[in-house]
Subunit: 355 residues, 2 copies
């Protein structure tokens, strides 16, 4: 191996070790600590324009490819438990990654599937998960074309971790990106929020109070393709995952350097999710979905966008707010009782391992 | 989520549960049990021509792309310990995946990097690994353009697992694939074998008998590109990883339905690796490399291929045998004492977690 002298920037860990000498669960929770880890460590070390664009997936310029751009993304899945109402780690590993491609405006085409198996995992469970991946891939119309299998000793894993990477194609000449959000854009949400996170938490904690609580996990690509096929002027799409709606809005406000004002009363939350959140002391705005997205669209496109999304039966889409003149990076929320408060990214540990 | 009725094939786990009710370490060791898991379970469930082509990476036909084909691959890295003589999990995660692309004849362009971190991991260690990935990516001339971070509870991981997926481009109109191996092809090996596996084992077991034993981990893409740029008639390339040279040859003999005859005396094994293997009761032919490959080339191309490989200083490349008429799938080896024996894939657990 060629020996390379470390560059000077490598000499000091960019995460303040006095504050964070070790990795904490919160570094994976989708909130501010994860954002800092990504930006200070990964962006700094890997430093390239594609990575720093900071979207769910990255659009690549492949040599010789003029008519079609390739979009690339990856996610690992460490959800506990492996099976939950409305899905399992296998379907999640397919939907999560194709949804990231869809949020870039790409049509998902191919997935990889890499398994880290814990010694002692029931072979039957693995088969169930693998079959679920196939069904999910069929539903999303993608193919799982390459993969990898590793086994770690009992006690060095948690049954099964899956990584999927995805390749999609841009079929439309659109630029769907947080940095493309504009003053006056309307903010829409594709359905009620928080069901995935609360369904997993209820299953994990053995809470039987809400037997109707099922995950919203679903492939969003067909819905997004319909929006693009209709030629609607869409500036940004983002699926609501770790950190919930609040994190998504804060990230986009920061990334686009805009202010976003939303109305709490418009945000759809089911009674089941509200009750479960109250019981566990959680804010539904911080709870992950796996089949919901936020869209930033021009005012003239709102009505048709809501109609198209509704036709895909992913929940009742609604208009929740808009991009306004004001402090860049700020997200404000008109509360149900008529006040106004600043919406912040969650910090600390919220709901570990819900995806 | 749409409910789907399981297809009839899903009802019975294709791995005989009486024999293998649970996942064993050997299912990840690169030998026959891993091959069975992949073919019986993953090939059956995911079933598509791209996956079933059974190469290190898959060549994709993207719509509208005529002049350039996209190659896609993935690997997860669970090596223990994280640092070893000649590399670490970070450099390995870059080289391993770009080598898979190179073995398809593709020029590696982009990588994803997905981290599964164990709660409590030293932040400083993560930074060292991340910096190592950047140096490795620079050396291989690829960019890490997208990623993911998950954290699992202490005791549910082993410090750090990394998945990388890679995208490469075909720049040459070549078909480099196991199924392309032909009668009369010469078999070459790019350098001495087994150093990676034995360096990791020595480090893990605290064996200090061979302080000179360093991993062969290296990026092979520049060397492969030089072979292709020279216009040599290369039929198949395969990097020697889990399962060692024996596994690679057996897989290719099966995949191409040919017989391969090799000469043990030609296979380069360093004294350090031989001693370490003797001590641990291992066969060097079953030990992984991370910077060596096997090539199947036409007889007229052998000499120039060896010259080009030698110029990249990845070890001393040699001619070890040829593809002969005979039983499909058979690999025979002329032994040092003049006999002949059948070379088989390793079965059972060999060297767990060396990549």
């Amino acid at each position: 191996m060629t020996k390379t002298t470390p560059e000077s920037f490598e000499l000091i860990c960019p995460i303040p070790l006095a504050d964070y000498p070790r990795v904490l669960m919160a570094h994976g929770s989708g909130g501010r600590m994860m954002q800092q880890l990504i930006e200070k460590m990964f962006y700094r070390a890997f430093d390239n324009p594609e990575l720093l664009s900071g979207h769910d997936g990255v659009t690549l310029n492949m040599g010789g490819i003029e008519t079609s751009k390739v979009v690339f993304t990856t996610d690992s899945y460490v959800i506990r438990p492996l099976f939950f109402p409305g899905g399992d780690i296998g379907s999640l590993a397919v939907y999560g990654t194709i949804n990231d491609l869809a949020m870039c405006g790409a049509k998902p085409r191919y997935l990889s599937a890499a398994f880290i198996l814990e010694e002692g995992l029931d072979m039957e469970i693995l088969w169930q998960v693998v079959c679920s991946m196939r069904r999910a891939a069929d539903l999303a119309r993608v193919k799982i074309v390459t993969g990898d299998t590793k086994v770690v000793e009992k006690g060095k894993g948690d049954g099964l971790y899956i990584n999927t990477a995805g390749i999609g194609e841009m079929h439309h000449a659109v630029h769907i990106h947080p940095q493309n959000v504009k003053l006056g854009d309307k903010v829409i949400v594709s359905g009620d929020i928080g069901r995935h996170g609360m369904a997993v938490m209820a299953q994990r904690e053995g809470l039987s109070f809400e037997s109707d609580l099922t995950s919203d996990a679903a492939p969003l690509n067909h819905c997004v393709m319909a929006l693009l096929d209709a030629g609607l002027d869409i500036h940004c799409l983002r699926d609501i995952t770790r950190g919930g709606l609040a994190s998504v809005l804060c990230e986009i406000a920061q990334s686009a350097a805009v202010r976003i004002d939303i109305d709490q009363q418009q945000i759809p939350v089911s009674d089941e999710v509200n009750s479960a959140c109250e019981l566990l002391g959680l804010n539904p705005l911080h709870v992950a979905c796996e089949g919901r997205f936020v869209g930033f669209v021009t005012p003239t496109a709102v009505e048709q966008a809501l109609e198209i999304i509704a036709s895909f039966n992913h929940g009742d889409p609604v208009y929740i707010g808009e991009v306004t003149a004001g402090e860049a990076g700020l997200v404000t929320m008109k509360t149900a009782i008529g006040g106004q408060r600043i919406l912040d990214m969650p910090s600390g540990e919220l709901l570990p391992r819900i995806c």
